[in-house]
Structures are given as structure tokens and as C-alpha cells.
Symmetry: C2
Subunit: 237 residues, 2 copies
Amino acid sequence: MAGRAAVPEVIWARPERTGRGPRPAHTRADIAAAAVKVADEGGLDAVSMRHVAAELGCGTMSLYNYVPRKEDLYELMVDAISGEHEVWEPSGDWRADMRRVAQQTRALMHRHPWLTRLMSPVYGFSPNALRYLEHCLACLDPLEARYGMKMQLVGMLNGCVTSYVATELAAAERTRSLPWSAEEENAVRIAYLGTALAGGEYPRMAAAFTEDSGPIDLEGAFELMVERMLDAFAPRA
Amino acid sequence: MAGRAAVPEVIWARPERTGRGPRPAHTRADIAAAAVKVADEGGLDAVSMRHVAAELGCGTMSLYNYVPRKEDLYELMVDAISGEHEVWEPSGDWRADMRRVAQQTRALMHRHPWLTRLMSPVYGFSPNALRYLEHCLACLDPLEARYGMKMQLVGMLNGCVTSYVATELAAAERTRSLPWSAEEENAVRIAYLGTALAGGEYPRMAAAFTEDSGPIDLEGAFELMVERMLDAFAPRA
DNA sequence: AGCGCACTACGTACGGTGTACGTAACTAGG
DNA sequence: CCTAGTTACGTACACCGTACGTAGTGCGCT
């Protein structure tokens, strides 16, 4: 059978450098850094093959020597950020360690707001992701459970943190992009949500919105969520 | 001040029909249905203004009379699917009801695999989302807690379910798109993950991968995750 | 009744995207 | 040394979202 099917090979499986030919002018790390810089400065939508190539100082199509598809560029970016995760000696208190992990993940996503959009679990098991996962498992050593359960804990925690931060960032983006933050917020809530809720069809939603008028404590809410998450995996008393 | 800023208005705030002019040839529901059909048949990437317009049987630019930006088309799609959520009389057992909600969400995402990619919390409070949320809150009536906490429960449950199903679908997609499912899986795992883990740097990850060799029970794992999630919100004994 | 205007419909056009393909330069293995 | 595989990169194509202009339509007001 000549002509292999265009199998979607994982980028981490292909070696960064083969013996033949002139030596590449850039490393994978360079490319990831360039893409991350573009995303940090112009948002994820600014990450195009052309822009990243320009940032890197090479022709557009040269990028394809390093990155077979754009999706792989995303994977490089996620891996690069995963490398920013701090790794420490486990304290022996798995709850404290996991709390710290969650806070770091949140901080990471605040520093790189585009991360939440790439956190689809399609990108898995990159080198730095392995490092990160191993560290999480090390922190969970004191917890007596099978690895499958620990992986589930990490997965659920990540899913919740991602979802939480995404909400957080969306809210921040909304208030930032509008001319009058509070006024517009009220205008929209009253104009649409107000009329929708005033119909009386959704009494609980209406109650939920009038319940807490004060500004919510995002930090506190986050820590509470993490705590609940960890509660779920704590051994029953 | 002439020239209002192009404020990103929520699509649900604008009325579907104003008095003036010829009556629109399509309804929002029609458009949402067309977009959903295109996504179901060709994936989310097939959802372009041109394709949806063609499916609808109108010119491309006519779509913009109904949908100011493509992002709003996405919102219409999510709302349409939210309408597929079944709503029942709460049983009085909030855990049982929420379990059922989670299972329905999962089923929904299996029926429309592109949903996980649109589940960014940017899209919020569409008409059918309100209906869904009110139903969740109704199911949670027996749980003594503030609405804020109940909303958090729903949010976390949704986040975890989304993340879980996304992983599930990605795995299914991978095995489907490859010529030999199991063989290729082994090839990749051994070629890359194997060599990475064989280095001995990640002993726990290696152990995690060798721990359970049998095929994993996706249903069971899902139910277990939901149960843990609900545990976290159950009143302490 | 009839005028005017807001609305619908839609074709054209522009700047942007991912990437297939062809060509030239280069370097390590035989 | 030769040659095959690799890098670098320009050109080209199909497709995307959407700004804008034009024509037709029917409601609301006078």
C-alpha cells in the first residue's frame, strides 16, 4: 500500500530534529514563546500562522516545517504554559497542596486569558502536562486511593477551575468593554433579564438575582468551590 | 454625541420583530434549527454564514438581518439545544433530580458533539437557559441553602459534565479517525508516552497507566463523578 | 389615501485565514 | 563527492466574516 493515510500524528511523537538537512533556525520552545507572546498581546484571535511567523521573523510557510497544522501550534502554546506551573516538594497535606495547585492554575489563566479557550481536553499528555500531572499525583500520595480516582480528582478540579475562571473572565471582559460598567449592567439586566423575570415564570431565578445585591467576593467563592471539590474526595468519616 | 459606540448588544434584548417593513421570511427558531442541522451534519466548522444561509434558502447577507454577528448565531444554537432539555416535576429528592439533569446534559452533548465547544460561559441567560436554570433551582428546593450556592452547584456540575464529555468525545473521535483503533492506540502510547514514561521521571504516571488495563466503564465513571460532585454540596452529617 | 421611512433581501467586494504546492539552498550519510 | 532528505519561502487557492450599496416592500402617520 503506497501512500499512507494522512494520519493525525501527535506532534510530540515526531522528533524535533532529524539528522539530515540544514539545522532549523528555531526551536519548538521559540515558536511556542512567539505564539504565546502574540496571544498575550492581541488575544487568541491574533494567533495566525502569519502573525506568529512574523513575530518569529520568518516566512509564513516556514512555520509549517515545525508545526504541521495550526492545531499543533495551540498544543505547543498549552504545553509552554503548563511549563509555568510551579512544582514543589509535597507537604504531606494533600488538601493544602491541591488548593495551591488550583490557585496556581487560576493565576495562570488570569495571566493568559486565552488559556480557557484552549483547555479543551483534546490537548493531552504534552511533556509539561506529564510533569504537571506527576506533580499532582505526588501531592496526592497521602490520599489512599487508586490512581484512577486521583486522576479523576485532578480532571474534575481542572474542569471546574477552567469553567470558573472562564466565567470570571467573561464577566470582567463584559464590564471592561462597555462605556459605563454598572449603568450598562443595570440597563441590560432590566431591559432584558428584568422583563423576562418579571413575567413571573421564573420565580426562583428572580429571587436568586435579588438575593445578593452586594459585589461578590470572587476569591472567596473560588476557594469555597475548591474546598467543596476536595470534600468530595476526602475519605468518609 | 452623534455616533453611538458599537455596543455589543445581547441578541435576546432586541425584539425578533418590529412593526415596520415587510415581515421577515424566517424566524429565529428556523435559523437556529438550520444552524444546528448544519453543525450536526458537518461539525461546528461547517457552520459558516454562507452554509447556514444556504441551508435556510436565502442569501448570505440576509442572515445579518437576524443575526448581527456570527457569535450570536452560536448563541442561538446553544439556546435551541437548551430547549431540548426535559423539564419534569421535581421528585423531592434533589440528588436524584440533579443526577437526572446531569445525565440529560451528557446525552444532549452526545447527540450534538459540537456543543462542548460552545459551552464557554459567555453564552448565558438565553430564554431556554432561564427555563433550564429555573428547573434546576426547582429541583434544588429541598436543599436548604442560599440561591447563590445552588447556582454554584449547577455551574460546577455543568463545568464538570462538559469537561468530562469533551474528554469522552475526544477519545471516541481519536479512535474513530484512525485506521486501526487499538493497534494505533498502542503504537502511540508506546512510541511516545511509553518512551516518555520509561525514562523513570514520572513513576506515578507510569503506574497510573499500567494500573487498569481493562476497558474503562465510561457510564460508571460518569455517575461516580456526578455522585462526588453532589457529595460536595450535601449537608454535613 | 397616500406619503415616507424603516425594514427586508441580497450582490459585490475587501481583507483576512489555513494551507497545498513548487522552487531554491543546504547539509549529513553513503 | 554525490545525492537524498530537509529547510526556507513565495505564490496561489478556496473559504471565511462582514462593510456597504441598492432595490423592493409594507406599516404608521398625516
